[in-house]
């Protein structure tokens, strides 16, 4: 890397990081939180004995996973105005990403719930709990442990996918890099820098995952 390249790298570093801190991270965190709520609902619907409910959940999951996220963003931001719903970029982005996470995480949560031994449900019932209480007090805490690694993967994918939010006018890490690249015409260098910064974010997130796992593992033998 020559001197001017190095200078560009240094000059761009904090702006790109700031794009991550002010755009990528809040967008990813809020969409993920909301997405988990949706996912839990969808997973429960999918597990329900009610055919309509579980069919609807299957359909939802299939559409979310079978279509490109970009189109999902476009539909919410550019398509909804056709039916009179005009949302700002941030709400649009959060809705689109939450719905997307909802579809992917639903299958993870469903698998995690199914992975809790049936005996745990029965132990809940035999001490007099109903289904809802057993789910909340007995099953979900155990499912949480199982689902942390795959959910972390979903989250890490989400962090990178939020770069698509720039398509609907949200400024985040990748958009900042594109701006810098467009003005400096140094696409390769700036994108590599962006990749490095994504990677740093992911390393931090992974270590967070490690801590969470250790916390949830306190009650199992290692």
């Amino acid at each position: 890397m020559d001197a001017s390249g190095w200078q560009l790298f240094l000059d761009s570093f904090w702006p790109i990081v700031w794009g991550g801190v002010s755009g990528t991270i809040p967008l990813a965190l809020s969409s993920f939180a909301l997405g988990l709520v949706i996912a839990l609902g969808v997973a429960l619907a999918r597990l329900s004995k009610n055919r309509v409910l579980s069919g609807a959940a299957r359909f939802y999951i299939s559409v979310i996973r079978g279509t490109p996220l970009l189109v999902q963003l476009f539909v919410i931001f550019y398509g909804m105005p056709a039916i009179g719903i005009v949302l700002d970029p941030w709400p649009s982005a959060i809705i689109a990403f939450s719905l997307n996470v909802g579809g992917y995480a639903a299958e993870i949560i469903r698998a995690a719930i199914l992975s809790v031994p049936k005996g745990q449900w029965e132990a809940g019932y035999t001490i007099g709990m109903g289904q809802a209480t057993t789910l909340r007090r007995i099953i979900l805490p155990q499912a949480a442990r199982v689902s942390v690694p795959p959910l972390s993967n979903t989250f890490i994918s989400l962090v990178k996918d939020t770069s698509l939010a720039s398509l609907i006018l949200v400024t985040e890490l990748f958009r900042v890099s594109q701006q810098i690249a467009a003005f400096s015409q140094e696409f390769m260098l700036v994108y590599l820098e962006a990749a490095l910064i994504y990677w740093l974010f992911c390393l931090v997130l992974s270590s967070g995952q490690g801590m969470l796992e250790r916390r949830l593992d306190r009650y199992v033998a290692v």
């Binding site: 467009a182 400096s184 696409f187």
Partner: protein, 245 residues
């Protein structure tokens, strides 16, 4: 390595350092109507810039091959030596002149401020101050809008900018007059109007810094094409006017 001439060939382009011997490799978006796009969407690659490039290649006695990709990748491809030239309405500005060589311009057209019909609050570039415009990041127009003091929302292209304008989510968009004209020709009821225009901007073919010989040859070819009326003819075909000067 990439310039190894093929022995049987008339050695056309020997000194140009072409990516592929005997062939002019042209990078273009392929999704930028009316300059570089596919006929009927999925047909042949056509457009003003495409035909100019084809004419230049023919003049130089070279085969032509297009590489279609997004704007970000176009310049990367040029720098990686994968393409010899960009034909995609690259406007000449000082930052780019520092990094690339340019041919003589083959498009001269003003940039225009487009607003929704009936919006009287904007009538000049200066009125953009404090307003919101939608621009694609990679264009010169982005800079124009920023310079005018507008809040710029970056979009992927003209279609999205128009959608935002029509949905009332931005106040204006700045673009090439030619793009605007092409759009209203297809969509007469779009409800858009031009309220201001700049001095004309020049667009040219862009080359890597070390391709002086190629640029020189291309300039000569453009001169010939200009002189024999080919440029004007292509302009007539796409815009009903010669836009090369």
């Amino acid at each position: 390595s990439s310039s190894a001439p093929e022995s049987g060939d008339a050695a056309a382009g020997d000194d140009y350092g072409l990516a592929k011997a005997g062939t002019l490799t042209v990078a273009t978006e392929g999704t930028y109507r009316p300059f570089s796009y596919h006929d009927e969407g999925s047909g042949d690659l056509v457009g003003y810039d495409v035909e100019i490039a084809e004419a230049v290649a023919e003049e130089l006695g070279l085969e032509i091959e297009f590489q279609e990709t997004q704007w970000d990748a176009i310049f990367a491809g040029l720098e990686a030596g994968r393409a010899d030239v960009i034909a995609n309405q690259v406007s000449i500005n000082p930052e780019r002149e520092e990094k690339y060589l340019f041919s003589s311009p083959y498009t001269v057209s003003p940039s225009v401020v487009v607003v929704a019909e009936g919006d009287t609050s904007i009538s000049s570039f200066d009125d953009l101050a404090g307003k919101t415009t939608a621009q694609s990041l990679t264009s010169n127009f982005y800079q124009l809008a920023v310079d005018a003091g507008a809040n710029v929302e970056a979009v992927e292209g003209w279609a999205q900018a128009v959608a935002l304008l029509e949905q009332g989510r931005v106040d204006a968009t700045v673009n090439d007059e030619l793009t605007y004209l092409d759009y209203v020709k297809e969509n007469p009821d779009a409800g858009l109007e031009v309220v201001a225009e700049t001095d004309p901007t020049q667009s040219a073919l862009a080359f890597a810094k070390d391709r002086t010989a190629l640029v020189k040859a291309v300039d000569e070819a453009l001169e010939t094409l200009r002189a024999d009326g080919t440029l004007a003819e292509i302009g007539e075909k796409y815009f009903g006017a010669d836009v090369s000067e």
